[in-house]
């Protein structure tokens, strides 16, 4: 059996709201398989982002297990979590969130340099990645010289460049029109299949759901499976 890159077991996270304790995520269990793209939908405030930030090693849960590549990171320190993010996770944000003062190719090489993965081969790797997202012709451009769709492509390339096992996307199509949205999700899906990765996409965008392998609905702090294409 193939290893599951991400497993959440019985995770709970609550926030204090005045003197009331708000359970955002409760008894949540989730398993992500290799090579699949999972969509998570749900009303706002249902805990989608909290789920994503726990799965993405940005926050620690109050209880439960978060197993990334076989390691439980639930009680990791900030520095250890940063290393997990650097080496095992790739993020794609609502807006592309590129670093404004770096050229397109530098956005990608920065990630490799931070991970101490910079080698002779890296230039070629960056180029190949930019070709994969069809942005090679823009490699010397700054983010403000690119269109919204182009920036999101660069952000996708950045998320994949350090070969993470898991891609986490938070509303990646929110700032794009419908044609571009579909193209972006197809792009993520293609790279996931080609390179044996997996992806979680939190979204409001109904039209991209057919492109995902499984769809979960987040309701009252729980994930409920809605559809399975397989």
């Amino acid at each position: 059996m193939m290893m599951e890159p991400l497993i959440l077991e019985d995770v709970e996270k609550s926030f204090k709201d005045g003197d009331k304790v708000n359970h955002i995520v409760k008894n949540l269990s989730f398993r992500l398989k290799m090579c699949e793209v999972v969509a998570i939908v749900g009303p706002s405030g249902s805990g989608k982002s909290t789920f994503l930030s726990i799965a993405g090693a940005l926050q620690s849960p109050d209880r439960g297990k978060v197993i990334i590549n076989g390691t439980d990171i639930a009680s990791f320190s900030d520095v250890e979590k940063a290393n997990i993010r650097l080496n095992h996770l790739g993020y794609i944000f609502q807006t592309s969130n590129l670093v404004p003062y770096l050229k397109v190719e530098e956005q990608l090489s920065l990630v490799l340099k931070m991970a101490n993965q910079w080698s002779k081969d890296s230039k070629r790797k960056v180029k190949a990645m930019l070709i994969a997202v069809e942005m090679e012709h823009r490699s010397k451009f700054y983010p403000h010289q690119l269109s919204g769709g182009e920036r999101q492509r660069v952000a996708i390339a950045r998320a994949f460049i350090n070969a993470p096992e898991i891609i986490l996307a938070d509303e990646p199509t929110a700032s794009l029109d419908s044609n571009r949205s579909i193209a972006i999700i197809e792009l993520i899906s293609n790279i996931v299949k080609e390179q044996n990765k997996s992806a979680i996409i939190v979204t409001h965008d109904e039209q991209i759901l057919p492109l995902c392998d499984r769809i979960y609905v987040m309701r009252d702090g729980q994930l409920i499976e809605q559809g399975n294409r397989k």
Binding site: K48, R85, Y91
Partner: protein
């Protein structure tokens, strides 16, 4: 990693230039005021400041003011000891022969050839009643000219000029102990302002103190501070300097802080893709250090140039040691100012980068 802060600075040129300019101008102001404080200090008291004396024996009731101190000195007993020298200081005026115009000066009487004598052997090989004047008078009187003491009418022959000999902003007229006797008249002949020693010597100090009961030993620094007007001048300038530095802390802290706040989301993104707080803090501190070094270096160069174009009658001294000291203080101040921002970097939350927080 160090290319990152450079790329940021070159991309946001205007923003970083503005901060550098603030630092640059604050540094200039600090350097110029310290230069003026130095210049005024030398202009006021250079004769005592440059004097190779360690401490002075002054009358107790004079409260460290050498111009107020009066000691009746038995010259014969004293001159037996060359390590202790009497010094006479008397504010006065001189005029050229057949001229009504008076020049304010301060008579300073020392034993020719002693360690107190800035003219070296000049006074000793003198003609009758030789006087050396501060160079600031070289435009008004000429070497070899005869001048008269306005009060006693004693004639003095200008034997030469000396650099940096002022007391309480007046040029010093250096005379021998013999001339001092003539100017002071019979009653003041053996009355001097103090006794100076060139280096710490407990035995000599005790002997002098037993010779004259009504005095006390005062360090040179205290004597300089006791010169009329000296402390008031220096204190007001140093008050300006210290306020300037306090203001610099707050202005720089505010600027760095605003800049960091602007970048909070960016820090969040960088953290989300795996940057550690320590890397971001290092990169920010590195930027601050770069900015500070460049701005301060430019300010030092500017101050040096500014000194050249300053008219001669504004006393200004570019003291490299002091400039280096203030540069160090400003450097620490800007590092200190950026600490608040460091706190913000550590707190920057990668979750904010996700665009929404529940």
């Amino acid at each position: 990693m160090y290319s990152l802060p450079f790329k940021e600075m070159t991309f946001f040129k205007v923003r970083y230039l503005l901060i550098s300019f603030i630092l640059f101008f604050v540094a200039i102001l600090v350097f110029v005021i310290s230069g003026l404080a130095n210049g005024l200090s030398m202009n006021n008291a250079s004769s005592i400041i440059n004097m190779p004396a360690q401490s002075f024996y002054l009358q107790k009731s004079a409260e460290d003011r050498i111009d107020r101190s009066h000691l009746r000195v038995d010259l014969e007993k004293l001159t037996a000891k060359s390590e202790a020298q009497p010094i006479g200081i008397q504010m006065g005026a001189i005029s050229k022969v057949n001229s009504e115009d008076k020049l304010d000066i301060t008579f300073m009487a020392v034993q020719p050839g002693s360690f107190l004598d800035p003219a070296g052997q000049g006074l000793e090989t003198r003609e009758e009643n030789a006087v050396f004047l501060d160079r600031s008078l070289s435009g008004t009187v000429k070497k070899g000219m005869i001048v008269e003491d306005a009060r006693s009418g004693v004639s003095l022959k200008v034997a030469g000029f000396l650099d940096d000999q002022t007391f309480s902003h007046t040029p010093v007229a250096l005379i021998s102990l013999g001339t001092w006797g003539e100017i002071a008249g019979r009653s003041g002949k053996s009355e001097f302002n103090g006794i100076a020693i060139s280096k710490e010597n407990v035995r000599v100090k005790k002997e002098i103190a037993s010779l004259m009961k009504n005095g006390e030993w005062v360090e040179k620094d205290q004597v300089v501070k006791g010169i009329p007007g000296y402390t008031a001048e220096q204190n007001s300038l140093y008050m300006m300097l210290s306020f300037l530095i306090v203001i610099a802390v707050f202005v720089l802290a505010a600027f760095f802080y605003i800049m960091t706040i602007q970048k909070t989301v960016q820090f969040g993104i960088l953290k989300a893709i795996g940057a550690k707080s320590s890397q971001l803090v290092k990169s920010t501190i590195f930027q601050v250090i770069m900015l500070t070094i460049v701005s301060i270096a430019a300010a030092v160069a500017f101050t040096k140039g500014f000194m050249e174009i300053l008219p001669d009658d504004i006393p200004f001294i570019f003291d490299f040691v002091q400039i280096a000291k203030f540069s160090g203080i400003l450097f620490l101040v800007s590092i200190f100012g950026s600490l608040l921002s460091v706190l913000n970097i550590v707190k920057a939350d990668p979750i904010q980068a996700m665009g929404r927080v529940e």
